[in-house]
């Protein structure tokens, strides 16, 4: 497979990256030979993106060596060394054509005239090379996600054609599109391009790659030929032993009083979603990015249109809306706190009180004013352990963990009986994560029904009474606490076929 070449295109020796003294990734060492496809796997937060960014030259490592064609280089120059990357968020221009997108970095022709024929030739050649029949004149907006992905790959390869790094290229693709992509990757491999393939889907890794690197907690824990390991072993390597058994410090659900029931919820992004949550129960929803978990959560709150019913405390909700749900004691903590959660240029005080203003203030004459808000929010800040200089500081000045606590406290203040928490600990430090987990448990113990959507499987294993697994817009599995098995859950969430379940 590796051909006769003996010098690796690219080698890494003990790569290390620290951000302000905190080591995120350490000990990455591997060689890339022409025609080799390496699968880079690991759980969320294992350090894949950091590694990727060091590989393609976006980040400078704090330690270790990089060798290009066998020679040590001072800096990873990315393109100049023939390395290109396709990131998860594509850097395409929607209103430009395929050809323009692919050639935007170096357009053929002179300053005063683009040589469209030459550009079309280059693009056609590239597309032919990729084996794709895409109209170079179509605008990128008019293409499906799969085609866009391929355009981005074509663009990347035009700039640098020795090493291609693909970060989760299949999350938004259909099966057909994915299959096309794999054929292209096969072709590229046959032409001697080295590929680093980052994915959650182990089937895909087995389909595309010949070797693997497993990252866990920023460490390279294993590497080798895929032929030598089974998928199950690989999954075990990713998850690690420490999370194999979840702590049993969780109080079981007492009684059975249904708080939230979702029936046949369906939309463009998911189908046939039905589940129920008891009071005092914590239900985790696992799944990969793009599985439709957030969409379901948003549909429950009327934030996106969907068919089907939602029942709260046994009664059907006639018209779903955030405000209406709030009145019923149901709240939603959105996934992306910067985009959908926080009012970044407003004070912590306002961010805290927005969802339950009447609980924070004593309305004076004519129902005016916000008196008492300062003290009440300060009390919340103190009890939630949010570290801020003063209550009127802008929320964008806070650390991620404190921001998340602000957001959580905002919804806690509504004294909800049902909570839907979407990625409640994404991007927060360990301490804050622990605090947030404690609060979630306390809530459940006091009788609240909690749904936790998370990509962090260990978190779900620790917190939940029950875990639902979503894949491609459908519920594909359910595990009660006794049945928890991280490897099975991952393989269910990441499998391509339904059979695995």
């Amino acid at each position: 497979m590796n051909g006769n070449t003996t010098t690796p295109l690219l080698s890494f020796r003990g790569l290390k990256k620290s951000f302000s003294g905190k080591t995120v990734v350490d000990g990455i060492s591997f060689d890339l030979y022409p025609g080799q496809v390496v699968g880079l796997v690991g759980e969320n937060g294992a350090g894949k993106s950091t590694t990727k960014n060091m590989l393609c030259g976006l980040l400078e490592p704090t330690g270790g060596q990089i060798l290009v064609d066998g020679h040590v280089v001072e800096r990873n120059e990315g393109h100049a060394h023939g390395i290109s990357a396709v990131h998860q968020e594509l850097s395409l221009f929607g209103s430009l054509t395929v050809a323009e997108n692919m050639c935007i970095g170096s357009m053929p022709g002179s300053r005063l005239r683009i040589d469209w024929r030459e550009m079309e030739r280059i693009v056609r050649e590239q597309l032919d090379f990729l084996g794709m029949d895409i109209d170079p004149h179509a605008t990128v907006n008019s293409l499906g996600a799969g085609m866009q992905q391929i355009v981005e790959i074509g663009k990347a390869l035009l700039h640098a054609d020795k090493v291609l790094i693909l970060d989760e290229p299949t999350t938004s693709l259909t099966a057909v599109e994915r299959e096309k992509l794999f054929l292209i990757l096969d072709k590229l491999r046959d032409r001697g391009i080295a590929i680093v393939f980052i994915s959650h889907f182990l089937e895909e890794i087995y389909r595309v790659c010949d070797s693997y690197i497993v990252l866990r907690d920023g460490q390279q824990v294993a590497s080798g030929q895929l032929a030598d390991v089974t998928q199950r072993q690989l999954e075990a390597l990713m998850v690690g032993r420490s999370f194999e058994n979840s702590p049993d410090t969780i109080r079981p659900v007492t009684g059975s009083c249904e708080a939230l029931r979702v029936e046949n919820l369906g939309s463009a992004d998911f189908r046939d979603i039905s589940f129920a949550v008891q009071r005092g129960e914590i239900v985790g929803i696992a799944g990969l990015m793009g599985a439709g978990r957030t969409e379901v959560a948003e549909a429950i709150f009327g934030l996106r249109p969907a068919t089907g019913d939602v029942h709260v405390h046994g009664k059907v909700v006639p018209e779903r809306s955030v405000a209406g749900m709030k009145r019923l004691g149901v709240c939603y903590l959105p996934e992306d706190r910067r985009v959908n959660g926080l009012f970044l240029n407003r004070a912590v005080r306002e961010n805290l009180s927005v969802a339950a203003i009447s609980r924070f203030i004593r309305r004076g004459l004519f129902k005016l004013g916000f008196s008492g808000e300062r003290q009440a929010t300060q009390a919340v800040v103190d009890s939630a352990g949010i570290a801020i200089p003063h209550i009127n500081v802008r929320v964008d000045a806070l650390s991620g963990g404190n921001q998340q606590k602000v957001l959580l406290s905002r919804w806690m203040a509504t004294e909800p009986e049902v909570l839907v928490l979407d990625e409640p600990t994404k991007g927060v430090d360990i301490g804050a994560k622990f605090d947030i987990h404690t609060r979630i448990r306390e809530l459940a113990e006091h009788g609240a029904a909690v749904v936790v959507v998370s990509s962090d499987l260990p978190e779900l294993l620790q917190l939940s009474h029950r875990i639902l697994v979503m894949r491609k817009g459908r519920l594909v599995g359910e595990f009660s606490r006794e049945e928890f098995d991280s490897v099975r859950i991952i393989s269910l969430a990441a499998s391509v076929d339904d059979k695995v379940a």
Binding site: S91, S95, I104, T174, A268, R474
Partner: protein
């Protein structure tokens, strides 16, 4: 078939306004036989000339997601400078060169301020509007300055039977179309308006493009200034002030969105022409001159509402496409797969 039509419409953004032009013109022709003469047609083209020429520049600016409120003031200042220099020096060469350089410079200054101070283009050009206008009146003392008779050539001379303003319009439009579609500048401009983030990640020379685009806006305003000056017969204090809103309206009618990214020069020219058609029609109907504003406002509103509604429809198509992905995931992959493929192919 229906699909092809839709594709053509979504790709050729100038088509709707072109069709609106033709439809409205047909209507006017039915109402009034005088309408359908060559000379009336020429006259309307000439009338739309100044707006259309400026709209070419404004199109570029709006495509990069910018805006230039000071264009009218640039027009005023440039006319003033030209007239004043002609009066003082009698040198066409000097006056022309100075006026065109100055117009381009004033536009470029807008661009420089936008990239240097990172304030919204609206506020930036609002401030320069006031400054340029003040400078113009300062220079002339609000006097009218006549321009020499020969200057009239620019306004109503003919070359090979064609009025000079139309020729100039034609040249500018051709240049505009060329630059937008066949040079890096044009591609970069569209790219910047399409996604500022991608532009950063792709290392596009955003700063120079911004300055160039605003500079071009200034340049075409200079051309428009000279034509208007020649046609009106001399500098009048305040000439051109307020024209920027007509120009923006023309660009928007032409299918260019304020959010940037896409747009066509041809569409903007049609937009400018449509505004003249409206005037012409109202004139034929002997409508009160004060109705004009109302009709223009309503037409502009109608255009954006139609645009918004069709955008919604497109969103629905996209979400239906997403939904088809769900079906495919569960049912037999083989047949579904082919459907999916067809859906993809059908899109282009």
């Amino acid at each position: 078939m229906k699909n092809t039509i839709r594709t053509v419409f979504t790709r050729q953004k100038w088509l709707p306004i072109a069709i609106a032009n033709v439809a409205f013109a047909t209507l006017l022709a039915l109402v009034s036989p005088a309408f359908l003469s060559l000379s009336n047609f020429q006259s309307m083209l000439v009338q739309s000339g100044v707006t259309a020429i400026m709209a070419v520049g404004m199109t570029f600016i709006i495509i990069t997601a910018g805006i230039d409120i000071s264009m009218g003031a640039i027009l005023f200042f440039t006319s003033a400078l030209f007239a004043q220099l002609m009066l003082d020096t009698q040198s066409y060469l000097l006056a022309f060169t100075a006026a065109m350089c100055c117009a381009t410079l004033l536009g470029a200054i807008n661009g420089l301020l936008v990239i240097r101070f990172r304030m919204s283009p609206l506020i930036t050009t609002l401030a320069t509007y006031s400054i340029y206008r003040g400078m113009a009146i300062h220079m002339t003392g609000a006097q009218n300055i006549p321009v020499p008779r020969e200057m009239g050539f620019l306004g109503n001379g003919r070359v090979m039977g064609l009025p000079v303003p139309i020729i100039l319009l034609f040249v500018i439009v051709v240049l505009g179309v060329y630059v937008l579609n066949h040079t890096r500048l044009g591609v970069y401009a569209r790219a910047m308006g399409s996604s500022a983030r991608s532009a950063r990640e792709s290392n596009l020379p955003s700063n120079s493009v911004t300055v160039l685009v605003y500079g071009m806006g200034g340049f075409v305003t200079g051309v428009a200034a000279l034509i208007l000056l020649a046609r009106v017969g001399g500098l009048q204090s305040g000439i051109g002030i307020g024209i920027e809103f007509t120009v923006i309206a023309a660009v928007i009618l032409g299918g260019t969105k304020l959010t940037g990214g896409s747009g066509t020069v041809i569409g903007s020219v049609f937009g400018a022409f449509f505004l003249v058609l409206i005037d012409n029609g109202l004139n034929l109907l002997n409508a009160s001159p004060y109705i004009y504003d109302i009709v223009r406002g309503v037409v502009l509103l109608a255009a954006v509402v139609v645009d918004r509604v069709s955008a919604r429809r497109q969103e629905q198509v996209l979400s239906a496409l997403r939904a088809s992905r769900l079906d495919e995931a569960s049912s037999s992959r083989c047949t579904r797969g082919r459907d999916g493929e067809q859906a993809l192919l059908g899109q282009r």
